[in-house]
Symmetry: C2
């Protein structure tokens, strides 16, 4: 093992930054970045970190190229403290999976830490009441890495259960029609009154939220883009009002079956 002494000096942190703004980044994530010599990540995620990056080598990348970025991070981490950052939680459609796959394949042995963050499901949910109070499913509509027929099968199963479903990657240039397809599947199992929360740029600048229903979703489809998370309520979800205002979505957990309030 000729490189053993060398590899002992390196380390790798795979860091979830949450929605993006500093006030939603955990102190642990900041610490992992502070002690890194190299910080890798998508340019968008690195912008709010700029005050922390002085004196570090920053390697920013565009969307895609995750495999290259993982390989580069691991190569550097043999001998240096490296942090590779993801938006949201690093373990949910983030960099943790691919980095650990490439790391295992490389045979490199270094200390690795995955630092969790506030994932888009929770960030988006917090902006539209409490749509995920109980059981729920998380499904990406991106068919880049998962065949569309598998995604459709998953949508069918979870809509049939009537639990709320969080849709990541609902739409992008490459797949403009996947969201409309998901709506078709939802209509097979859920009523037109089913509430839907659309949250664009959750807890970031230019945040937009829309509360609508499955019956009226069509008019809002143009507003959905790759920075949007969509929460389709379950059978028990309902619109939450304060006075006459629609404020969001509540999925009751079942206290109403046990208590009078």
């Amino acid at each position: 093992m000729p490189s053993h002494a060398e590899t002992e000096k390196g380390s790798l942190a795979i860091v979830g930054l949450g929605p993006g703004r500093m006030e939603y980044i955990t102190p642990r994530a900041l610490k992992a970045i502070a002690r890194a010599e190299y910080v890798l990540g998508h340019a968008t995620y690195l912008v709010p970190l700029e005050p922390l990056l002085a004196g570090k080598t920053v390697i920013s990348s565009s969307m895609g190229k995750e495999v290259d970025r993982a390989e580069q991070a691991i190569d550097l981490a043999k001998t240096h403290a490296v942090a590779i950052v993801s938006g949201g939680d690093a373990g949910v459609y983030g960099m943790a999976g691919i980095v650990l796959e490439v790391l295992e394949h490389s045979g490199v042995t270094i200390p690795v830490e995955v630092v969790p963050g506030v994932t888009a499901a929770n960030a988006a949910a917090s902006r539209v009441g409490s749509p995920l109070s109980g059981d729920f499913a998380v499904i990406s509509l991106s068919d880049l890495l998962t065949p569309l027929e598998v995604i459709e099968q998953r949508l069918d199963a979870v809509f049939a259960l009537g639990i709320p479903v969080v849709l990541y990657n609902p739409k992008s240039r490459g797949r403009p029609h996947n969201f409309a397809l998901a709506v078709e599947h939802a209509r097979k199992y859920l009523s037109e009154e089913t509430p839907i929360g659309i949250v664009k740029n959750a807890l970031r600048e230019d945040e937009e939220t829309i509360i609508t229903t499955l019956g009226e979703i069509e008019e809002h489809i143009p507003a959905i883009d790759m920075h949007t998370t969509v929460i389709i309520g379950g059978k028990e979800s309902r619109i939450w009002r304060m006075g006459d205002d629609v404020k969001g979505i509540i999925t009751p957990r079942g206290y109403h079956r046990k208590y009078v309030y």
Copy 2:
């Protein structure tokens, strides 16, 4: 509306604290607590906050009594700045749902903010590699508020899909057998090699992690308690090794279908 002027002075923050340790609490959550006059929550969650609580009225409670706590918080929030805290994310099996239900029912109109946190699914996943890299489901095994037959139906559907499943509330004194029941359902659809991550007190003191498989889960059932989150891998999940050591679980997202690495 005689109390209008009064209610304008109050506010309510429903705050997710993440796993518990200060280094996983977001600055936004700390800010919501800092500006509160009243802080309500389960005693366990309030302990790490103690340095922040000087000069505030702290109302700590034991497990259960969520409806009472919600009513008390709303009553105080008519005229005061109130923070009610949950472990993990406030919107996932936390206080957000019941507080918003009671708030709507009360007719009180006050500013409300839900502050998201790192939920147990993400905290636990980060300690056992990257088991939730793609789509997944979150299911509580507590039948206090959801009938057991509904839970079983959900388990069947998600195990049949072969996506990873995060089990909250896997076992407690009141329901010692629900986890074994979930295992029975998993065995109908998943192979004995399916990896399982057991994480007790994720990212807190006395954290314990176990990586095992569906075939060998029985011997670890006694270790599971109410502070444990269990992640049952999906059809594509596998054990992650570094050298000869079992380090965790990887659920590949599908890069291996597209790239050579």
